[in-house]
Amino acid sequence: MLKRALAIITLLIIGYWLAQGLAGVPFGEDRMLVAQYYLDHVKEQTGAVNTVTAVVVNYRGFDTLGEVTVLFIASTGVGALLWRKKRERTAKTEGSIVLTTGTRLLAPFIMLFGAYIFIHGHLTPGGGFPGGATIATAFLLLYMAFTVYEIPHKTFEKVEGAVGMAYVLVGLIGLAIGGYFLYDWIWQDWGFGVDNVGRLLSGGFIPVIYTIIGLKVGTELSGIIDNMLKEEVSE
């Protein structure tokens, strides 16, 4: 009990200290500096309506590249650690009839919905990460419902790599055309969709990148699910 009490006292001190710091950052006040610039210029500079998306993909695109890499590392790492000579699914009970029928019916629509989320990232809330996660939940559902279902590993792994390369390549094309890495050549140089702000065909390379991210997140998360579900079997 002594240890618990000590831990709680330490935590309360930390909490008090944090609250002291936060008192200097009052809640609900306008302290925007760089953010105000984003809000003022987002429409003409990136063509996106959703400012968060514009910040994530365009202004701070480097972060997102890193973020995609982190997810890639996770999927690679899980694959590396759970790698065995021969692994199979060991689930024994098939899902109930409601689950299997429902899954057959719903899985394509869930994937479609995920695709919708990431394609419309520059207009509505959402974007590549929730979209990709939604696609992964469709695969999760398939895994739950059917005992023998497996994702096509080879294809998924190749898609993962190729899509990641496509992201870097988009950046490198920007370097070649505009002279800057991750330069938005579709919007800034071609001016594609300038009259279309607020509709689907606008936003420069944001939809392109978000499609890439959506595919990548979807394949990676399904790969993680697959790796976690399969167990080693002896020959």
Binding site: L22, F27, V55, G77
Partner: protein
Amino acid sequence: MISAYYFGAISLILIGLYAILVKKNVLKMLIGLSIMETGVNLLLVSVGYISGRSAPILSEGIGPNQAVDPIPQALVLTAIVIGVATTAMALSVAMIIYEKYGTLNVEEIRRLRG
């Protein structure tokens, strides 16, 4: 007087930290870590909130001066994904630990290692 959102975020951080410090089970520690990350995300978003303004989606009727701060939201998007990546990594390591030692209790693991 501290705002309710800050209070909630700090509580989540402290509860998560408590689980990491006191609990012995690896999975329980990871649950604590996950809760702590949620708390940090909540803190970041509340720092960016401006009272009386709406979401930073500048479609009809919402001008640049009526939106909340978009940067913390972009940061939190990144942080959430990083959090789930760490969790997945940690869980696969925990599986290896269970495979090798047959337990997830850190004290037991220490004892078995000798």
